[in-house]
């Protein structure tokens, strides 16, 4: 356990206090190490909610995080995201905004210079202009935008696509793999699961695997070994705002009591603080670094938690 921990410390994933590291006595740091080893530690990072664990990736959307069993998406596991169809089953869109936002979260959670985001299949290549915007504003994510660490692959057929995902999962430098998962069967998803497990990194540094799948492959038509399964669709909120909204539905989540599927309404919100000029410009709003659950208009006083939840779920 302790060697694992040392690796985490070295990777900067777990920080030993902010600026007072030198001042800490040896004894204190040892006690802290022990606490970490026993699993009581909290990741000291400004973005992680209290109680989040390093083996999972916080989605950055609190209502969803609270619902998930470990308060986030498990790293080193596959997560399936079903898109929506537009005019017939051959045209489908993958939820790129959410996938790009999650990719950014992965870089925020482990701030180090290394790490690649890999986009496999043309269908999941987001526009580079959007990725360039992601992660630059706050100066987090190692000071480098996601675009600079991105690799775009365009495999010609399903076989080589599966092979490429497999190769990327085994590479220790890969932080996020976003792939077009259409046409992958149960055996393929199991293979990916095994590949992710054979990554030599400790779990917190393993890649997050996000597979975008067409809606026609929704269960029960196909089955897979994915950890979670989500469906995303655009939706017009009751009070339409100036920003795109999506209905995100959780179909399946290992380890969560799921009597029925849960859903949230997610809005692509403007970035809270615009770098440069301070005013909120509607055209600077599109960066997917800021996804939020749409509860209600922000300037009202926050309602009681149960009520808010009801509204989130019920909206």
């Amino acid at each position: 356990v302790s060697s694992e921990l040392e690796k985490l410390l070295a990777a900067g994933l777990v920080q030993r206090g902010s600026g007072r590291r030198e001042a800490e006595s040896d004894r204190q740091s040892r006690a802290r190490t022990l606490a970490l080893a026993q699993g009581h530690a909290q990741i000291i990072h400004n973005d992680l909610p209290l109680g989040a664990r390093p083996e999972v990736l916080s989605t950055g959307i609190p209502p969803i995080d609270i619902f998930l069993p470990q308060n986030g998406l498990k790293l080193g596991c596959t997560h399936e995201w079903f898109g929506w169809e537009d005019q017939g089953p051959s045209h489908w869109f993958s939820p790129l905004t959410i996938l790009a936002a999650l990719a950014l979260r992965a870089f925020i959670q482990v701030p180090s210079a290394a790490g690649l985001a890999i986009w496999i299949g043309r269908r999941v290549w987001p526009s580079p202009a959007v990725l360039e915007g992601v992660g630059r504003g706050g100066g987090r994510g190692g000071g480098q935008g996601v675009l600079g660490r991105s690799l775009f692959l365009d495999p010609s057929d399903t076989g080589s696509r599966l092979w490429a995902i497999d190769q990327c999962l085994r590479c220790p430098d890969v932080r996020v793999v976003v792939a077009d998962g259409s046409g992958l069967d149960m055996a393929a998803s199991r293979r990916l699961q095994l590949a992710a497990e054979s990554n030599p990194n400790p779990v917190p540094l393993r890649p997050l695997v996000l597979l975008a799948r067409p809606p026609r492959e929704r269960p029960p038509k196909t089955i897979s070994a994915a950890e979670t399964r989500w469906v995303v669709k655009p939706e017009l909120p009751p009070a339409p705002g100036p920003f795109p909204c999506w209905r995100v539905e959780l179909l399946r989540c290992k380890g969560a009591p799921m009597a029925q599927s849960r859903s949230w309404l997610i809005e692509l919100a403007p970035m809270s603080s615009t770098p440069g000029d301070g005013r909120a410009h509607p055209y600077l709003a599109g960066s997917p670094s800021a996804l939020r659950a749409r509860a209600d208009v922000a300037d009202r006083p926050p309602p009681a938690e149960t009520e808010a939840r009801k509204r989130i779920i019920g909206a």
């Binding site: 290394a114 526009s127 365009d154 190769q167 990327c168 220790p172 030599p200 339409p240």
Partner: protein, 576 residues
């Protein structure tokens, strides 16, 4: 008899209209360090100030900062090139003609090579013979590379030097016979003897301007009056004193070959041998402190009819220099497995065609040297062992910078070698307002990870940009307002919210051939740039789908095409 060839070179600027000047800044003054022939014709000389030179040239001037040592390095490279191609004994000429900007850094302007016996290799039957053929073979590639060169061929270094600089043709050959050589040298100025400017001036003041006059003087007086150099240079030019050339030593690309006893048809033997060669190659690379960027494997196969051989060439490009035999084998292995061995392979050659610097790294104490083994035996063992996966590649090095992006490079190599280099891409933002031109995808093999551009983050853009804008029909209640109905991909969409417009002008400096071709008009060569403006709108339809739509407004009407001036609507992106 040894014959020396000598070329004087200056950068050619014939096809560039502006005069080319290299300047050096000293004490807030910009002085000319070197100038082209065009400016030389306008009496510009090194040492002048830039302002003076500009005034004298009058026309367009291209000014670059002079980099000390760059000329020397470039000449050194040129000498290495010549040494691999024309003659084994080549060096950069230490003596230069003309102006020096300072005593310690003369601008090299020549290459000396010993071509004794080399010219036979360059005979072109029926056209050129001997030294002329060689001179032609040197001049042609130099001309293509933009150099203007003159060649002098003579029995001694001194004679060839004089012929290259004072001969009246691009290629001047001096006779080998002593008397004839003396007669050929006599009319040349004393500067042609490679003596310094002060001595030349002193000689000129005494009325001695030609080499012939110098030869006629009593030989005993010369050293006491003009220093010992004059006599030595004279003897060297006439070939009576020996002069040696210290050749450059170019490094030919590393090449390792194994020839079998006879044709070998077994795949196992070929694989084993290739792996051993890889280990050997990596050992050699280790000695040179470099890694391979482009590896070539050549397999000589017995010809189809059983006679002669044919070559099977496999090339592997790498994203960064490496000398890890495991990694190289993992890339080469699928290629070797697919080889059609036919009647058998006769020999295998591995060549590191392109190499890069790869510094030695301190191995961790007591860590098994899996990647850069300490002994040859260990490396061999590693190269033989097992699968080319990342999983068994030792413990992960987690510290920042410790891996040095090695895994990343290996991953890119693996992917690019299977999927093809054009399918593994990196993207970068290009400075352009036009959305489809604002990014560029480049093969990851060629482009290393770039430092982040300092451009401000772009404006709000959709997450999915269509490959090419798709035509749509729209109905807007008023001009400059978002449309209220959009028909796209055969479906009517009622628009319930729209934001915009954001107007993007065309890039007038680009040719607008695309649009004209689209309209079926043959583009004229002098057609102006993008002839349109675009108004972008963000639209939300009744199902909550957000589209990025623009209205294209042509700036002028194309003759004979009726609809060419009316606005058209396109869908360009979707927020997915």
């Amino acid at each position: 008899m040894g014959r020396e060839s000598r070329q004087g070179q200056r950068k050619a600027v014939a096809h560039i209209t502006p005069a080319l000047l290299l300047v050096q800044t000293r004490a807030n003054m910009q002085h000319i360090a070197a100038c082209c022939r065009q400016s030389r014709a306008a009496s510009v000389r090194p040492g002048m100030t830039l302002a003076q030179a500009r005034a004298m040239i009058g026309g367009a001037v291209h000014v670059e900062e002079f980099e000390p040592g760059a000329e020397q390095a470039a000449m050194q490279r040129l000498a290495c090139w010549a040494a691999l191609r024309f003659s084994p004994i080549v060096s950069v000429d230490p003596c230069t003609l003309g102006e020096k900007i300072s005593a310690d850094d003369p601008l090299p302007d020549g290459i000396v090579m010993d071509i004794t016996g080399c010219h036979r290799l360059f005979d072109r039957r029926g056209r050129e013979h001997g030294e002329e053929a060689l001179a032609g073979a040197i001049l042609r590639p130099l001309g293509r590379a933009g150099f203007e060169a003159r060649i002098g061929i003579g029995p001694s270094v001194g004679a060839a030097w004089a012929a290259a600089r004072f001969g009246d043709r691009p290629v001047t050959t001096l006779p080998g016979n002593h008397l004839e050589l003396r007669r050929a040298l006599e009319p040349l100025p004393v500067r042609a003897l490679r003596i310094d400017t002060q001595t030349v001036q002193a000689l000129n003041e005494l009325g001695i301007e030609r080499i012939g006059q110098l030869i006629d003087l009593p030989r005993r007086m010369l050293p006491s009056r003009f220093g010992p150099l004059v006599v030595r240079r004279l003897d060297q030019a006439l070939g009576t004193a020996i002069e040696t050339i210290e050749p450059v030593r170019p490094r030919p690309p590393l090449r390792i070959e194994r020839v079998f006893d006879g044709p070998t048809p077994q795949t196992e033997a070929i694989e084993l041998c290739t792996r051993e060669l890889l280990v050997e190659l990596s050992g050699e690379l280790l000695k040179r402190e470099s890694g391979v960027r482009l590896l070539e494997a050549v397999f000589e196969r017995i010809g189809r009819n059983g006679r002669g051989t044919e070559q099977l060439i496999e090339r592997i490009a790498l994203s960064r220099a490496t000398r890890d035999p495991r990694h190289l084998w993992s890339l080469l292995r699928p290629r070797v497995e697919k080889l059609h061995l036919g009647y058998g392979i006769e020999s295998i050659t591995l060549a590191a065609l392109r190499t890069g610097k790869l510094r030695h790294r301190q191995e961790k104490y007591l860590e098994d040297g899996k990647h850069e083994g300490n002994s040859a035996a260990e490396r061999r063992k590693n190269a033989r062992g097992g699968s080319p996966r990342y999983g068994d590649a030792a413990a992960p090095e987690l510290r920042k910078g410790n891996t040095g992006g090695r895994h990343e490079g290996e991953l890119i190599d693996t992917l690019a070698n299977r999927l093809g280099p054009e399918r593994v891409l990196r993207a970068e933002i290009v400075e352009s307002h036009i959305p489809e031109r604002a990014q560029r995808f480049t093969p990851a093999l060629e482009a290393p990870r770039r430092p982040e551009s300092s451009a401000p983050p772009p404006l709000s853009r959709p997450t999915l940009l269509l490959d090419r804008p798709e035509h749509a029909e729209a109905m807007a209640l008023a001009p400059d307002r978002p449309p209220s109905l959009l028909r796209w991909r055969g479906e009517d969409r009622r628009i319930i919210a729209g934001f915009g417009p954001e107007r993007l002008g065309g890039e007038w400096w680009r040719c607008h051939r695309d649009r004209l071709c689209e309209l079926g008009v043959r583009p004229e060569p002098e057609a102006p740039g993008d002839a349109w403006e675009r108004d972008y709108f963000r639209l939300c339809d009744e199902a909550g789908r957000w589209l990025w739509v623009y209205r294209e407004m042509p700036l002028y009407r194309v003759q004979d095409v009726p609809d060419s001036a009316s606005p058209r609507w396109f869908v360009h992106g979707i927020w997915t």
